[in-house]
Symmetry: C2
Amino acid sequence: MSVRVLVASRNAKKLKELHRVLDAAGVNGIELVGLDEVPPFPEAPETGATFEENALAKARDGAAATGMPCIADDSGVEIDALNGMPGVLSARWSGTHGNDGANTALVLAQLGDVPDERRGAAFVSACALVIPGGDETVVRGEWRGVIGREPAGDGGFGYDPIFRPDGDTRSAAELTPAEKDAASHRGRALVQLVPALAALAG
Amino acid sequence: MSVRVLVASRNAKKLKELHRVLDAAGVNGIELVGLDEVPPFPEAPETGATFEENALAKARDGAAATGMPCIADDSGVEIDALNGMPGVLSARWSGTHGNDGANTALVLAQLGDVPDERRGAAFVSACALVIPGGDETVVRGEWRGVIGREPAGDGGFGYDPIFRPDGDTRSAAELTPAEKDAASHRGRALVQLVPALAALAG
């Protein structure tokens, strides 16, 4: 019999990514359940000061509402020359929520005078696992790179077109989905949850 | 005979402010000279990572070009919930240089979900004094407050309308010039240069 684990996301790609991580680690006996498969419950706004806080709050809400162990994530980009911002404000950096074009254009303008050697950045993902009446685990995955001078590529989403991973000459939006997947900050975080999930599967 | 000191600014208010600081400290024998009173020289762009770096670069340029001791400043606002940004990017935060309305609107939008207890901020000024062939001094003045929910007042400039100094219910744009002056971050920095300037005056 398998353990049902809620993934606090409506994004099918995230569920698949976690499936692959569990498969690669040889973890069996876990059935992943998306938000669409459970009755709706009130979701708290993401107002934490850190990715970890937001991920943990979401996972706690999901676990409390359903009684299932719950996994949640929060991610964004941390830019060195902006002291680690946009960070938790990545999705609303330009003032409007989820406007990728405006967000990347604003970052490029803010960094207009910042020289190449100070354009370092990281895609960051925090993932939390909350077990009702049990442990809470929060982990962080990072993908380092630099912020380019202009957008490149039309794959991916968010800040992908202006983020050039270390060791590559292409932007994240120019990588194939498989390449991006292999390097993903969320993948690097999720893999750290494997021991706790394996223990859960028994 | 008085020592001539270049103030690397075209802003008459800054010269007057420094005059008042020197008068209040009883420092005589210093003649302040503005950029408009010396032959033009190439001024480096402000691309430093800190206010201190920018102030020092400007003061070095002025001292090198004129042979006079030179004072320069760089200032901006550091917002806690933005990890100390806009900082050195204060003037171009919205992407366009010097658009006060766009800069304050962007900060308010970015902080839309940030609760009152995390809205702390500081106006910061770094001032540098460079003596040709002699010492370099850099000091920092801060004025703490919080970022409000909407602009208030039409005095001042820059981020004044959204900055409410600690211990006050008004924004910096609602203070009288004299009140603002008495609290000014630049004034708090300049006063720290008094010992070096007094030594210069002999």
